[in-house]
């Protein structure tokens, strides 16, 4: 019987935005599956906690304070990883930033900030990590996209465009790196219980509106995103590249949402805005 391997035994992974939420769940899942994990983010105390939990699982963890909007930080993240572990097998581009804004109120700086943090940084980290992966003729890059990158979500303008760019960057780089056995895939996440969406799930009234619009009638947990990241990182996905896996409870399937259509756009904006405050 064929035994399919989801294990990451002996592999080294970098996870950005690993101090909390989806990034933390991925880092811990990878450690559970046997990987050594480099955790990167701006907030050191939280990052140290993630690292401590990884070490409790018997794996090595390396903490690298990284502001992914700064190119030199990313370059140093890659350098430190190679110095410590001599390899990069997996890169998870997870760190992201969302400013919710009416288009008329979104200033140039806000646009640039989101494009820089959510798209440009992923290109730079993938470029730097892929140099190592090409040399090793092995690697898996996983980009955390969003359903906002495939379907329009009002008031998420630059974030949504950056995520669309990231999903397409995935395909372009998959086509370029495949011959070196480096795989590049993305995950389109729906609503996940994290700090970014706290305003939604912590307010029962608002949570209900969102849940009604999702065929599965619930939002997801960070661990559910970690599971698909593990699949994509592992040898079980060795022929999967350029793919985008949507993990959204069916939210993007129907193309329209009868439950929310009665609401005017300003009402939707108010709820959206409240949900993020």
């Amino acid at each position: 019987m064929a035994k399919i391997q989801f294990s990451l035994e002996g592999k080294t992974a970098i996870v950005t935005g690993a101090s909390r939420g989806i990034g933390k769940a991925i880092a811990l899942a990878f450690a559970d599956a046997g990987a050594d994990v480099v955790v990167a983010s701006r907030t050191i105390p939280d990052l140290e906690k993630t690292a401590e939990e990884i070490r409790l699982k018997g794996r090595h963890a390396l903490v690298v304070k990284t502001d992914i909007s700064r190119q030199q930080d990313i370059e140093s993240l890659i350098e430190k990883t190679v110095k410590e572990f001599h390899s990069i097998d997996i890169l998870v581009n997870n760190a992201a930033q969302l400013l919710l804004m009416l288009p008329s109120m979104l200033r140039d700086e806000g646009w640039d900030k989101m494009i820089n943090t959510d798209l440009r940084s992923c290109f730079i980290s993938s470029r730097e990590a892929s140099k190592v992966m090409i040399k090793n003729r092995r690697g898996s890059i996983i980009n955390i996209g969003s359903v906002a990158g495939t379907m329009a979500v009002p008031y998420e303008s630059a974030y949504a465009v950056a995520k669309a760019g990231l999903i397409h960057l995935t395909k372009v780089m998959a086509g370029e790196l495949g011959h070196y056995n480096v795989r590049v895939n993305s995950i389109e996440v729906g609503m996940v219980r994290t700090k970014m969406t706290e305003g939604v799930w912590s307010n029962p009234q608002i949570a209900k509106i969102f849940e009604q619009g999702i065929p599965m009638h619930r939002i997801s947990e960070p661990e559910e995103i970690a599971a698909v990241a593990l699949f994509l990182a592992s040898d079980a996905a060795s022929y999967v590249t350029g793919a985008s896996i949507c993990v959204d409870g069916g939210a993007s399937l129907a193309g329209f949402n009868p439950d929310i259509q009665g609401m005017t756009l300003p009402e939707q904006y108010r709820i959206h805005k409240e949900s993020l405050e």
Binding site: K3, A174, G175, F231, A236, S238
Partner: protein
């Protein structure tokens, strides 16, 4: 432990078209992940061989000869499974087939045969198994589509249309069945090497050159995706079709190296 989420221990899974190729690999792979596998296909000897291979390596299986183009055969497959195990946790709709024919020369009968083999069969099996899953309030259906359901393939109009149909049937049944706790997902394999087409991939400048991962797919390459979608690792995934093609359809065809004949 995260790896436990990928386990299929004790789950009852039906795999159609499991006599050979991708279906056989899926049946063996799911048994390897701990599932009890009901092996279904048209050819009795092949069904028996797949089931025997599972049993010999310590798994549990049930062989059922079934032509899933026909409702009464599908009902029999579902009833026999329920009779023996009392439940159906996973259905993998893999059975299908094709032959090349010029669209302008395709007969009505040829069209009907391909549509019923590749699309109607998926509907019939999903509806019958879905009824049992609704009573259980749980279940996972995995449809094996094809990249040809997403991109065009010359000489394959009916098959391509049927596979595109499977991809939307996956989405629509996912929305229908979500309230019952049942997930419906698909996999779109790319070019998979079969015993008759190995030579296409061996030589330099061969088909493999046009594929980013530089090799043809093997039936075994599909197993990981099926286990992911069938297992609790994907509890928030529904209506999704996962492409497993080595990156083939991500690139504009004219930018791919020329395929050998």
């Amino acid at each position: 432990m995260i790896l436990d989420m990928f386990s299929l221990k004790g789950r009852v899974a039906i795999v159609t078209g499991a006599g050979r190729g991708i279906g056989k690999a899926i049946a063996l792979g799911m048994a390897g992940a701990g599932a009890i596998v009901v092996v279904a296909a048209r050819t009795t000897e092949q069904v028996a061989a797949t089931a025997a291979a599972i049993n010999e390596s310590g798994g549990e299986s049930l062989a059922i000869t079934a032509d899933v183009r026909y409702k009464e055969k599908v009902d029999n497959l579902i009833n026999e499974t329920l009779g023996k195990y009392g439940r159906i946790d996973i259905l993998v709709n893999n059975a299908g087939g094709m032959f090349a024919v010029q669209t302008m020369e395709m007969s009505e009968r040829q069209w009907d045969v391909i549509i019923s083999e590749n699309l109607k069969s998926v509907f019939l099996c999903s509806q019958a198994a879905g009824k049992a899953m609704i009573l259980q309030k749980s279940g996972s259906i995995v449809n094996i589509a094809s990249i040809v359901g997403i991109v065009a393939q010359p000489l394959n109009a009916a098959y391509a249309a049927a596979k595109a149909g499977v991809i939307n049937l996956t989405k629509t049944m996912a929305t229908d069945l979500a309230p019952h706790g049942i997930r419906v997902n698909g996999i779109a394999p790319g070019l998979i090497i079969t015993p008759g087409t190995e030579w296409l991939y061996d030589k330099p400048g061969s088909v493999a050159n046009g594929i980013p991962l530089a090799r043809g797919g093997r039936p075994e390459d599909i197993i990981g995706g099926v286990i992911y979608l069938a297992s609790d690792a994907s509890l928030y995934v529904t209506g999704e079709t996962l492409v497993i093609d080595g990156g083939l359809i991500t690139r504009l065809p004219m930018t791919q190296p020329k395929l050998a004949q």
